[in-house]
């Protein structure tokens, strides 16, 4: 087991190195650099000397190799380079935003899991009944509603009917002010969890349906076990592997992929950070955020694989 984990961690490191090379090549390949974007269409009103001095101010004249080397060194120094725009270390920028993204992703995943699995199981048990029908309509609707639209509707609904808007501006720290944090995050988390719950409901329904027809369920029932034990211990535990796969993929995606909800609710996660960094060609910041997102993808995958073994003892790690 521990050998397996170590091997996986080494693989993750390799993946990060690969991603770091690709992303730094890609950012170099982006048309227009930081100074071009900063000056926009006005740049031809500046003299060559003026533009050159701006370029050298931001170290934009170095070769790819030099920039990459400097970036890697800065990673080991813990700064991951400096944002061109704010001049602050990239690691600081990311650490400031990461809690927001993690809270959104984790919150949406937990609520999505609870609601999605519950509905999926109900829907499978009462297959073709009225509740199955209603739940499946929810699933389809939840998947089809664009989150930004739902988010806007929620904000406007709150404003119109309750004359209240969630706190905006700086993200409220969950430890310092749990109630304020709750007010700020509950609605974006709920909006995100709708699509999550809908997707998870569909997969738990089909997984449960499959398991319910298997021989060991019939055996369990004929042994005289109560329906509750059959459903939870025998069915759900076995049906959980595809559910977990989907939930972990979705969660990993949400860490960097909540831009739209961040913008509607004015929360600054790493999604908006990345979008703005790409738009302004803030190279070190783009690279840093992509690397962090890659890390979380790999990390969540690893954790998921480990949970598989716990759920299904037949899965072995060698």
């Amino acid at each position: 087991m521990s050998a397996y984990i170590i091997r996986r961690i080494i693989l993750i490191l390799f993946a990060l190195v690969g991603v770091s090379i690709i992303i730094s090549l890609l950012t170099m390949a982006l048309p227009a650099d930081y100074v071009d974007i900063m000056l926009g269409t006005e740049q031809r009103t500046l003299t060559e000397t003026q533009i050159q001095s701006l370029r050298s101010l931001y170290d934009l004249d170095d070769s790819w190799f030099e920039r990459y080397r400097r970036w890697i060194v800065s990673i080991f120094q813990g700064t991951m380079g400096h944002s061109l725009r704010t001049g602050r270390p990239v690691s600081t920028e990311i650490l400031m935003r990461l809690p927001v993204s993690l809270e959104l992703a984790l919150g949406a995943t937990i609520i999505g899991l609870v609601i999605g699995v519950l509905l999926g199981v109900l829907s499978a048990i009462y297959r073709e009944g009225l509740s199955d029908f209603v739940i499946r309509i929810f699933g389809l609707t939840g998947l089809s509603i664009p989150p930004f639209w739902l988010g806007l509707m929620v904000i406007l609904g709150l404003a119109l009917f309750f004359n209240w808007t969630p706190p905006r501006g700086r993200a409220i720290n969950i430890l310092a002010d749990p109630i304020g944090n709750f007010k700020q995050f509950i609605f974006p988390v709920l909006v995100l969890s709708v699509a999550m719950a809908a997707a998870l409901m569909r997969i738990s329904r089909s997984a449960m349906l499959e398991v319910l027809q298997s021989d060991y369920v019939r055996t369990a029932r004929s042994k005289g076990l109560t329906e509750r034990v059959v459903l939870i211990k025998h069915c759900l535990k076995n049906a959980f592997i595809p559910i977990l796969t989907l939930a972990s993929m979705q969660m990993a995606y949400l860490i960097g992929g909540t831009v739209v909800i961040e913008s509607v609710f004015s929360l600054n996660g790493i999604g908006i950070l990345l979008l703005n960094a790409v738009n302004t060609r803030d190279y070190a910041l783009v690279q840093g955020v992509v690397l962090v997102i890659t890390f979380f993808f790999a990390f969540i995958n690893l954790i998921t694989d480990l949970i598989y073994g716990f759920l299904d003892p037949r899965i072995r790690y060698e």
Partner: protein, 518 residues
């Protein structure tokens, strides 16, 4: 972004869901009250903080409050005293003398003198700085400081636009000691003489400005604090205005502005025709646009009113070379035959030019802006009627800019920054020596060259107006650009926010006069 495409649908929903009453308020004139925090929301945050190199609008809004200029501009874009109490311009227009106030202090307590002013102007002129305003004030040859409160600029040649350029947010006066010691791109080094002092900045989230107690205008500012909050989605800002979370907002979208106008009681919307301007940039070097008849045909084929009504919900005005917000200088386009759609005339011109079967050209524009895309689509539709097939090139910002600075396009559409000065819209583009003359492929006209040179020198306003009207008439006829429209600048504020003066620059300089009537 996909968010924007659905805004109109959303607006319709918004309008139909709610019933509200038009809020009306009685504006009793009363004495300003000191104190309070103004909650200000806008969609984007300042980018950087060096006032001489950062041209992004969200940053300029901050410079307007934190720094001061030698002179300011009033709502009619006329010069008013700021750091300079008064000024003299020599008969020939080549020497400007400014008499400074002696009671001006920086946020760090330093006393401001002519040394700081001289340093700031020289910093802009120094090529190493990379200052955006340099090209506008490059006519300044010598900066003299006869005493602590007098500053003299000697110009290479007379320049009637000088005053207005000195009022620009990128030509503010910085603290010499601070700027010499370190970069100005930080909160600590943002040391100005303006009504407010920058106190905290959390990029993309919040910025706090606090009252400058030693501000030179007596009693002002009235507010203790202004908190800028970044809310990227405009409808989300509208919701905040409705619930009272936000007191004051800067908006861009006509849809959001309409939502406020019609659905949000106790919030005033001020729509100020902008100095920004949207033209079709035309590459007059490329066939078939090198033919003046083709350019004129396009002008006749376009229906600007229809474009504004359907692409911009009616929230814009047709413009000539100088936007209508500069009332005194703008050419009245409603008189011009080129602004009346005339399909027959367009077809006739195309036939004369040998393009009766039509042709295909492409148009570049920046992706992600709903209004821009809609305008381009309407344009495509209108040109189709005269057999001109328009290919749409939706480009990412960086690519758009790259192509623009290489003039690599047939047509290109964008909304551009403006200035309070007529010369800004004309000389750099249409004088054969203009710094941006490359953009239309070096179209030139001797008469226009002469007029633009005269316009720069002429100090008499009436004569200068005639010069620019003539130049604009030629430009409209020759069509090196095809001018379309100017949008509005929207300021939305709660009824308890008093004393604000909106500016067509989109500037918020006059937040110094604002007070809260709670």
């Amino acid at each position: 972004m996909q968010i924007k495409g659905l805004r109109i649908i959303f607006l319709t929903l918004f309008l139909s869901v709610v019933l509200t009453f038009a809020g009306f308020s009685v504006n009793a004139e009363s004495e300003p009250i000191h104190g309070g925090t103004l909650e200000l929301a806008r969609v984007d945050d300042a980018t950087e903080l060096d006032p001489h190199t950062t041209t992004a609008h969200p940053s300029r809004r901050i410079f307007e409050l934190v720094y001061s200029n030698l002179i300011g501009l009033d709502a009619d874009m006329q010069p008013v005293p700021e750091l300079a109490e008064s000024w003299d311009i020599s008969e020939e227009g080549d020497e400007y003398t400014f008499y400074l106030r002696d009671d001006v202090y920086f946020h760090n307590g330093d006393h401001m003198t002519s040394e700081d002013v001289a340093y700031s102007i020289e910093r802009i002129l120094d090529e190493e700085t990379g200052a955006a305003a340099r090209s506008h004030i490059a006519d300044i040859e010598n900066v003299l400081t006869p005493d602590d409160y007098t500053i003299v600029f000697e110009l290479k040649s007379p320049n009637a636009s000088m005053l207005l350029h000195l009022a620009d947010a990128n030509a503010v006066i910085v603290n010499k000691a601070v700027a010499e010691a370190d970069s100005l791109n930080s909160v600590e080094n943002t040391v100005g003489t303006g009504p407010f002092q920058l106190s905290e900045w959390y990029p993309d989230e919040e910025m706090t400005l606090i009252r400058h107690a030693d501000f030179y205008e007596e009693d002002k500012p009235y507010l203790d604090e202004i908190r800028f909050t970044v809310i990227p989605e405009e409808f989300s800002i509208v919701a905040g205005l409705r619930t009272g979370q936000t007191d004051f907002a800067l908006l861009n979208l006509p849809t959001a502005a309409l939502a406020i106008e019609e659905q949000t009681p106790n919030v005033t919307l001020s729509s100020e025709l902008s100095l920004r301007w949207t033209p079709l940039f035309v590459n007059t070097e490329r066939e078939p646009l090198d033919d003046i008849r083709v350019r004129q045909a396009i002008n006749y084929a376009i229906n600007r009113e229809e474009m504004i009504a359907s692409a911009m919900l009616g929230e814009a005005e047709p413009i000539g070379p100088i936007p209508s917000s500069l009332t005194f200088w703008a050419y009245d386009v409603s008189q011009s035959p080129f602004y009346q759609q005339d399909i027959d005339r367009a077809e006739e011109l195309l036939r004369e030019a040998g393009y009766e079967d039509g042709f295909t050209i492409s148009i570049n524009f920046m992706s992600g802006y709903e209004e821009v895309l809609s305008q381009v689509q309407v344009l495509q539709n209108q040109l189709e009627k005269v057999n001109i097939n328009l290919e749409l090139n939706s480009l990412e910002r960086g690519i758009y800019i790259d192509r623009w600075v290489d003039a690599d396009f047939d047509l290109s559409l964008s909304t551009n920054a403006g200035a309070a000065d007529p010369d800004f819209y004309l000389f750099r583009y249409f004088h054969s020596e203009g710094s941006l003359a490359f953009i239309h492929g070096h179209w030139s006209n001797d008469r226009v060259d002469t007029l633009l040179e005269e316009g720069r020198r002429e100090v008499d306003e009436e004569l200068r107006q005639e010069i620019y009207l003539e130049a604009q008439e030629i430009l409209i006829e020759e069509a090196p650009f095809i001018w379309l429209n100017a949008p509005y600048e929207y300021f939305a504020f709660a009824d308890h926010v008093k004393g604000f003066t909106p500016l067509p620059t989109g500037g918020i300089n006059y937040l110094k006069d604002v007070w809260l009537d709670n």
